[in-house]
């Protein structure tokens, strides 16, 4: 079987294309730099990923990692007054950043001639953020993040995911807390707390920088070495957050009451962390269950019945654990009835292996997505960084696709039996006055 898999993979031009190994070096101060040359790229795309996220927020200070991400654009010693943004914009560069529980990432695209400026700016804010900030920068960004969170609270689905995380993970687990933080914690943030966190986690040895573009690898690595040479090694990064998990122990029924345009139902299970061997089969299972006509949940809830107006699945696999979620939205149905329909389809996939055809459909889509990524440089930079922190090498994309191509019906059935069991969360999200449409026996959840 293994020999056959290798032989098949070797003949696949997509896998061959993905096997082009990026150039990787570790600088003297510990920063890992990856260069992926791409002759056709009109820009240089970068991803600078730190091994720290909301899971590392100090106790009672949720939202610290995310608020710091905002602060990183306010100014550093040699690029004060929002210099990161203004200097990049001056040459036509664009940038963004995101924080989740596990990682914080900073992305940018610049014209090829601006690589040196990009390296200058990233190194400056990695080392000397505090020496470029103004006294009111933190207060301003607290207001911005507060509005960001209020926007989430005004969005049916976004607010429901706050309730879902609070239901699925125990209160002492990092994933229980929202990345944006609670409003109280956000209000209590201060410059000292943020800069201490920055000094603790934003060390070169705790970061991976990926550059994709029409670049000469050696010259680019030299440029990175020069730009980051002055960034101090710093003290040893502390151990990252960990969590001991108590099993859910049966079905946990929760209700979130909000002014919603439509009622929503979420079924959620804890699954495996990112990089676990079962991750591909769980992803394939999610796509098999819901993805348009001919998929079981969509047919049962909409195409054959008109019970729901929307439905879907998603998976998320983080460093400390994973989630598998099925959701549906309805104008007029009792949510318990919808749960029964979903459960009937889940029982089917647990009892009977899906056919090869169902897997072939899903995997063909994954294969195409990997091909497209070759020319989506910003996405590629992010995925290569993920390869480094997850698999230990930037050259993992071909292996990752091969794992998806190798998923079998037996794998899908096994992960459905193993991970989608009775220990789960059933979250009803209903408008005031519609509580009788919730799954009976639900207790209120208050998102933190």
């Amino acid at each position: 079987m293994i020999a056959l898999l290798i032989a098949t993979a070797a003949a696949d031009p997509v896998l061959d294309a993905l096997r082009v190994a990026p150039h990787t070096a570790v600088l003297e101060n510990g920063l890992t730099v990856v260069v992926a040359p791409d002759l056709w790229s009109p820009v240089v795309a970068s991803a600078l990923l730190y091994r720290a996220g909301a899971a590392e927020d100090p106790p009672g200070a949720s939202g610290t990692a995310h608020l710091l991400e905002h602060l990183m654009f306010e100014g550093s010693a040699n690029a004060p007054d929002g210099g990161y943004d203004t200097l990049l914009a001056a040459v036509g560069g664009t940038n963004n950043a995101w924080t989740d529980h596990d990682w914080t990432a900073y992305t940018a695209t610049v014209p090829p001639g601006a690589l040196g400026l990009l390296l200058f700016l990233e190194s400056d804010r990695m080392a000397w953020l505090g020496q470029g900030l103004q006294p009111d920068d933190v207060a301003n960004q607290q207001d911005v993040v507060k509005t960001e969170r209020l926007g989430d609270e005004s969005d049916d689905h976004a607010w429901a995911t706050y309730g879902l995380s609070a239901s699925l993970w125990p209160s002492d687990h990092p994933y229980h807390r929202p990345v944006l933080g609670t409003l109280d914690d956000l209000a209590s943030a201060n410059t000292q707390r943020l800069l201490t966190w920055h000094q603790t986690w934003y060390r070169p040895s705790n970061a991976v920088l990926v550059l994709v573009g029409n670049l000469d690898p050696e010259a680019t690595l030299d440029a990175a070495q020069r730009a980051f040479a002055d960034v101090p090694v710093g003290s040893l990064t502390p151990a990252r957050a960990s969590a001991e998990l108590v099993p859910l122990a049966g079905e946990q029924r929760r209700i979130l009451t909000e002014d919603m345009s439509r009622e929503r139902l979420y079924l959620a299970w804890r699954t495996v962390p990112h990089g676990h061997p079962d991750e591909p089969a769980l992803d394939v299972l999610a796509s098999i269950l819901s993805g348009g006509r001919g998929t079981p949940l969509d047919d049962a809830l909409y195409y054959r019945s008109d019970l729901a107006t929307d439905m879907g699945t998603w998976t998320h696999n983080g460093r400390l654990g994973g989630e598998f979620v099925v959701y549906t939205v309805s104008d007029d149905q009792d949510l318990e009835d919808l749960a029964a329909v979903i459960d009937a389809e889940l029982t089917r996939v647990r009892q009977t292996p899906v056919d090869d055809e169902a897997i072939a459909r899903v995997v063909a889509g994954w294969r195409s997505a990997f091909v497209r990524e070759i020319e989506d440089r910003a996405a590629l930079a992010g995925h290569l960084a993920d390869c480094v922190v997850t698999a230990g090498s930037a050259g993992c994309r071909a292996d990752e696709l091969a794992r998806y191509l190798a998923v079998t019906p037996a794998d899908v059935q096994r992960v459905a039996q193993t991970w989608l069991g009775p220990d789960r969360v059933v979250l009803s999200v209903v408008s005031p006055g519609e509580e009788d449409r919730a799954v009976p026996g639900s207790t209120a959840v208050v998102p933190p």
């Binding site: 031009p13 002759l39 009109p42 820009v43 010693a77 929002g82 210099g83 943004d85 914009a89 001056a90 040459v91 036509g92 664009t94 695209t109 014209p111 001639g113 040196g116 400026l117 400056d124 505090g130 900030l133 103004q134 006294p135 301003n140 607290q142 207001d143 911005v144 507060k146 509005t147 926007g151 609270e153 005004s154 410059t191 000292q192 800069l195 201490t196 000094q199 101090p232 002014d259 919603m260 345009s261 439509r262 993805g291 006509r293 001919g294 195409y303 008109d306 107006t309 104008d331 899903v362 063909a364 889509g365 294969r367 195409s368 091909v371 497209r372 070759i374 020319e375 989506d376 440089r377």
Partner: protein, 469 residues
């Protein structure tokens, strides 16, 4: 700085070395490969861009129709057709269609706008014959099944009935109604009663009329050669020989006004400020983009920097120029803290007033340079991926434009000056044409508006707005 102010964290950092940001030359226009200009035997134009570097091929096909001047039943029928086209063909059910395209690893879509019936499919190389055949079926031989139509209609009506519950959808409708007068084809005119009158059999009739009158416009981008792909295109779309052409709509001449749309229950409000802008093909269109880059379309534009970074009253702030045939609009949008919605409106007004008052001297060389370079890099990336290249060439083709026109736009952007920006600001930014719409909790917004001397011309509830034609 915080270090010198004694505000730094517990562990003092060593002083930062003095470093100077490297000088960077402005980006220059990158060379674009020229697509092959081909034609089917019917004369239908085809643009083919070979891209051997990625094993993908993408087809985009447009069938023009003059939907903006169609009757309301036809406009609604076209909207329904856009959904029905995905629901199966005369030869295979919707489930079989989805399965067949999934097996190819296809990314595909189809729809109907006010100017064209369009379809697109992107597959790994080697699947182009099957992909094109499926695209032909979807576009030219759809089932337009009546039971599926009824299902879509029911869902559509339910969606429409829930409009006033949703803050963003309510605001979107308010923006549309505040800008387009009653009777304008771009106004969302349909009521639930109108929707209930849509007849599935008339959708099929409309489809036949569109196809009979259309000459296709086709774009192919990917690792393919013309001799391989032209016969496939000929077999699929060579029989269409119409001459339908979308016409321009009447230009909106807005009068200054302000609307407050009451939708309580949310802690944020939606703000939009509108100005007239250049229509498609207007020579000033690139300069309007440049003006918006200075004002609102980029993270570092003036208005996002003010509302978000200086005042902290918004998370999402954006803007841009949007063009139609015969019409155009400049837009500034923000999702703001509902308690500070009036402050946000006053701030946006102040930025627009400032541009008008200061003229060319009001534009700093650095911000003009940044706007120019940002747009130039955007333009340089238009052919970056198979998808973006096909979208760009397809848009040019349906507007009877060529890549040379885009090159001319790049040149105009590169040479633009503060005087150019002041001229287009004066042309489009007059205060007597400025329209604003705020949607949110009236009880929280209205007193602050009055205090700021911004009395709305109209106050309407979300429910009442949803019932208006």
């Amino acid at each position: 700085m915080l270090a010198s102010l004694g505000l730094l964290g517990a562990t003092p950092l060593p002083p930062a070395p003095t470093r100077v940001p490297p000088e960077v030359l402005d980006p220059t226009p990158l060379p674009w490969p020229e697509p092959l200009a081909l034609a089917l035997s019917s004369g239908a134009p085809v643009r083919l861009l070979a891209r051997p570097q990625v094993p993908l091929v993408r087809f985009e096909v447009s069938l023009p129709w003059d939907g903006s001047h169609a009757s309301l039943p036809d406009q609604l029928g076209a909207a329904m057709m856009g959904q029905l086209l995905k629901a199966g063909t005369l030869h295979r059910s919707g489930a079989a269609l989805d399965a067949d395209l999934d097996r190819l690893g296809a990314r595909w879509n189809v729809g109907v706008t006010s100017s064209r019936l369009w379809g697109e499919v992107e597959v790994p190389v080697g699947h182009e014959t099957q992909a094109l055949d499926l695209l032909r079926e979807v576009m030219l031989e759809p089932a337009l099944d009546r039971s599926e139509a009824r299902r879509i209609l029911d869902r559509w009506i339910a969606w429409r009935e829930g409009l006033s519950l949703d803050l963003v959808r309510t605001h979107s409708r308010a923006v549309n109604h505040a800008w387009f007068p009653v009777g304008h084809p771009s106004r969302h005119t349909s009521s639930i009663r109108d929707l209930k009158r849509v007849k599935p059999r008339e959708v099929a009739s409309l489809h036949r009329r569109i196809v009979a009158q259309a000459q296709p416009r086709i774009v192919v981008v990917g690792d393919v050669a013309p001799e391989g792909v032209l016969p496939l295109l000929e077999a699929s779309f060579g029989g269409l020989q119409g001459d339908a052409s979308p016409r321009a709509t009447a230009t909106v001449v807005p009068q200054a006004k302000g609307w407050l749309v009451s939708r309580p229950g949310f802690q944020v409000a939606q703000l939009t400020v509108l100005l007239p802008g250049p229509a498609i093909g207007d020579a000033d269109a690139p300069l309007a983009d440049l003006l918006m880059a200075v004002l609102a379309s980029e993270f570092t534009s003036r208005i996002p920097m003010d509302l978000r970074e200086s005042r902290g009253l918004a998370y999402s702030v954006w803007g841009g120029a949007r063009s139609w045939r015969g019409d155009g609009r400049l837009t500034i949008d923000a999702e703001v803290d509902v308690d500070r919605a009036a402050e946000a409106l006053v701030a946006v007004d102040a930025h627009l007033d400032r541009v008008l008052a200061e003229g060319p001297d009001g534009f700093a060389p650095a911000e003009v340079r940044a706007a120019r370079n940002t747009l130039l890099v955007h333009q340089n990336r238009k052919l970056e991926t198979v998808r973006s290249a096909a979208d760009t060439l397809g848009e040019l083709l349906v507007l009877d434009r060529e890549l040379a026109d885009l090159r001319a736009e790049r040149a105009l952007i590169q040479s633009a000056t503060a005087a150019d920006l002041a001229r287009v600001a004066a042309l489009w930014g007059a205060t007597d044409k400025r329209v604003w719409i705020l949607t949110g909790d009236r009880a929280l917004i209205e007193p602050a508006l009055e205090a700021a001397d911004r009395v709305p011309d109209r106050i309407v509830s979300a429910a009442a707005l949803a019932g208006e034609p």
